[in-house]
């Protein structure tokens, strides 16, 4: 027996290729969407991995520092360092802001890290060029996605920094590249006011009779000094000594310091479950819409092709072709269309879409397998309407009136 579906496809290959390419682009978008979600999850994991932390100590009852704002005193780390099971601790600040470089503005997550040796929690774990920050001020290490080069002068708020090192795969959960600067600078930049604001604040403080008491010399100056420093950080990163259980250490910090502590697993759950959950739902919605559009296209084209073959189908039935063979002819064509679409989609997602998308797109092989199965299932289901039409064709139609 010959493959009727195959012959028909060869005969009408133009239609199949054009529809297949159109369908393929849709499938490519679908695969890329899934890849964007995977990329976001992966970015989140990399963010956590690269921070080098086992525990995140944050402001009580907040989901900080990534999902909510959190601030704790910048000396909290001292008391945590002394707790059993704690290897290393480091303050960290995160602030997403515009970083200027020449005429250009780059949105980046500015991260303030504690000066120290490499391996300090919060430091970028590896560099692709240059060196880590060694001075306490005005040096920066940037993710290459920011587009900065070694030696570039960049501006964060009112201060200028020199890019001394470049790292990679260090992005926030929004996909913004990270720029590391010394902690003190970062603390300052979070609260940095312009000169007018500073003057205004001084004046208001001086006008407040509670602070400006001539009988207590030095009070006003002390109050103003405390207002212009920022003794807060967003979180304390904790590394655990090997052999200690992260949950137990977290529990004791919670109990003794009255702070909220997250383990790696909990932090990942917050990032994936809370921070990117909305994006995930949007992407899910798009996937549903794209699947519906794809099935509508397959159903429509297969239905039209079948309507164009009604007489041939009547003749095939008259000469004794089984209904199963005719249904198979239509279903195989639908699947063939899906296969062309999938191949085009996979290629376009890999070569045309993912590399140029402004966000990290992670095309997981397993997603492709699911995508492939979904395409085949959709094609089979979409061919049902056409098959029903074909099975209703009366062989008497071939004989005519």
């Amino acid at each position: 027996m010959i493959s009727l579906a195959g012959r028909d496809i060869m005969h009408a290959w133009g239609k199949f290729v054009f529809t297949g390419v159109g369908l393929g682009l849709l499938i490519g978008v679908t695969l890329s969407m899934a890849g964007i979600y995977r990329g976001m999850v992966d970015d989140a994991k990399v963010l956590l991995d690269n921070s080098g932390a086992d525990l995140w100590v944050v402001q009580k009852d907040t989901l900080g520092p990534y999902a909510e704002s959190s601030s704790i005193y910048d000396d909290t780390w001292r008391s945590i360092r002394g707790m059993p099971g704690v290897e290393r601790v480091a303050n960290i600040t995160y602030l997403t802001m515009q970083v200027r470089q020449g005429e250009r503005d780059v949105r980046a997550m500015v991260t303030g890290v504690t000066p120290g040796e490499a391996g300090t929690p919060g430091w970028p774990p590896y560099l692709v060029a240059g060196r880590q920050i060694t001075r306490g001020h005005y040096e920066a290490v940037a993710d290459i996605a920011s587009g900065f080069k070694l030696g570039d002068r960049i501006q964060i708020r009112r201060n200028h920094y020199t890019v001394v090192g470049l790292t990679r795969r260090m992005v926030s959960s929004n996909g913004d590249p990270m720029v590391f600067i010394p902690l003190k600078d970062a603390q300052e930049s979070q609260f940095l006011k312009d000169n007018d604001a500073i003057l205004q604040q001084r004046r208001r403080t001086a006008e407040n009779p509670n602070f400006n008491r001539p009988q207590v010399p030095g009070l006003l100056e002390a109050v103003i000094a405390s207002q212009s420093t920022n003794p807060y950080v967003n979180a304390v990163l904790v590394q655990i000594k090997s052999g200690h259980n992260a949950d137990e250490v977290a529990q004791s910090i919670r109990r003794w310091k009255r702070l909220t502590v997250y383990t790696r697993g909990q932090m990942e759950a917050i990032l994936v479950g809370k921070l990117i959950a909305t994006s995930a739902r949007q992407i899910g919605m798009f996937l549903v819409i794209l699947s519906i559009v794809s099935s509508a296209i397959v159903a429509f084209i297969i239905y039209t092709l079948t309507l164009g073959k009604i007489r041939e189908i009547a003749v095939l039935k008259l000469i004794g072709t089984k209904n199963r063979t005719i249904a198979g002819l239509i279903m195989q064509q639908a699947i063939a269309l899906g296969l062309i679409g999938f191949v085009v989609g996979k290629i376009s997602a890999t070569l045309l879409m993912a590399p140029f998308f402004p966000k990290y797109v992670l095309l997981e092989p397993l997603d492709s397998v699911f995508g492939f199965i979904a395409v085949v299932v959709i094609c089979v289901l979409s061919s049902i309407i056409a098959i029903r039409v074909a099975l209703k064709v009366d062989p008497a139609e071939a004989i005519g009136g």
């Binding site: 027996m1 009727l4 012959r7 008259l318 072709t321 062989p395 009136g401």
Partner: protein
């Protein structure tokens, strides 16, 4: 005499029921011996197509008896179960238009029928090519139907009707699109094949060019058949 060939007795067909019922066939009686080609002639609406459909096992008659190729296929309300296999094995069809499958080449259009009956591809194709020799379209065996002239297409369609060596061939206006030379050639082929393959052939026609070639003609009027001797003229 229920031998091979076609044997129809008192065949009736009513479409619909009640007030709107139409008695398309009222009393049809026909005998066609193996190797014989008979004409079936009748005015529009007389029941020709209905009769072909009943013989072609695509509609069920209302009463009477039909024997095709020695097998009773209908007997007063009883009908063979597997009509699909019956059509495939016992009946060859030739239509007014060739109705070839556009996506199969000429050989496979014909070879498809033996393939459907389970015959291996190579053998099915050699059977088709065999017929093409007899029908003088061998040189077009690899072409697609759309590349053939009308007459060539019709000969391929005839080959398709013959390829399974059915005991019965039903031809509906097979010469309508052809000029008189080609029309007569088709009738000659049908006569040759009928003799060679012991096939009983019914040709429905209005075609004045070929009517004189039949030895026997059935007229059908208002669903009733009348037999008549034809001229049986040689067609050289």
């Amino acid at each position: 005499m229920a031998g091979k060939g076609i044997h129809i007795e008192g065949l009736k067909k009513r479409y619909g029921s009640g007030d709107t019922a139409v008695d398309a066939l009222k009393n049809v009686n026909m005998q066609v011996a193996p190797g014989e080609v008979v004409g079936l002639i009748g005015p529009s609406g007389s029941g020709k197509s209905t009769l072909l459909k009943a013989l072609g096992a695509v509609i069920e008659p209302t009463a009477g008896r039909m024997i095709l190729g020695g097998e009773v296929i209908y007997d007063n309300g009883w009908m063979v179960k597997d009509l699909r296999a019956l059509r495939r094995d016992k009946i060859g069809f030739v239509f007014q238009a060739p109705y070839l499958i556009p996506f199969l080449n000429v050989t496979d259009n014909v070879a498809l029928l033996p393939m459907l009956a389970g015959i291996p591809n190579a053998e099915a194709r050699s059977r088709a090519v065999e017929l093409f020799k007899a029908l003088d379209v061998e040189h077009r065996a690899k072409a697609m139907p759309s590349q053939l002239s009308g007459g060539e297409q019709q000969r391929v369609a005839i080959a398709r009707g013959l390829v399974n060596h059915p005991p019965v061939i039903l031809a509906d206006e097979p010469t309508a699109p052809l000029d008189s030379v080609r029309a007569l050639a088709v009738i000659r082929i049908l006569n040759d094949m009928a003799r060679k393959l012991e096939t009983a052939i019914i040709v429905v026609t209005h075609d004045e060019k070929i009517i004189p070639t039949f030895k026997r003609i059935y007229h059908i009027r208002d669903g009733v058949t009348y037999e008549e001797a034809g001229e049986g003229r040689e067609f050289e």
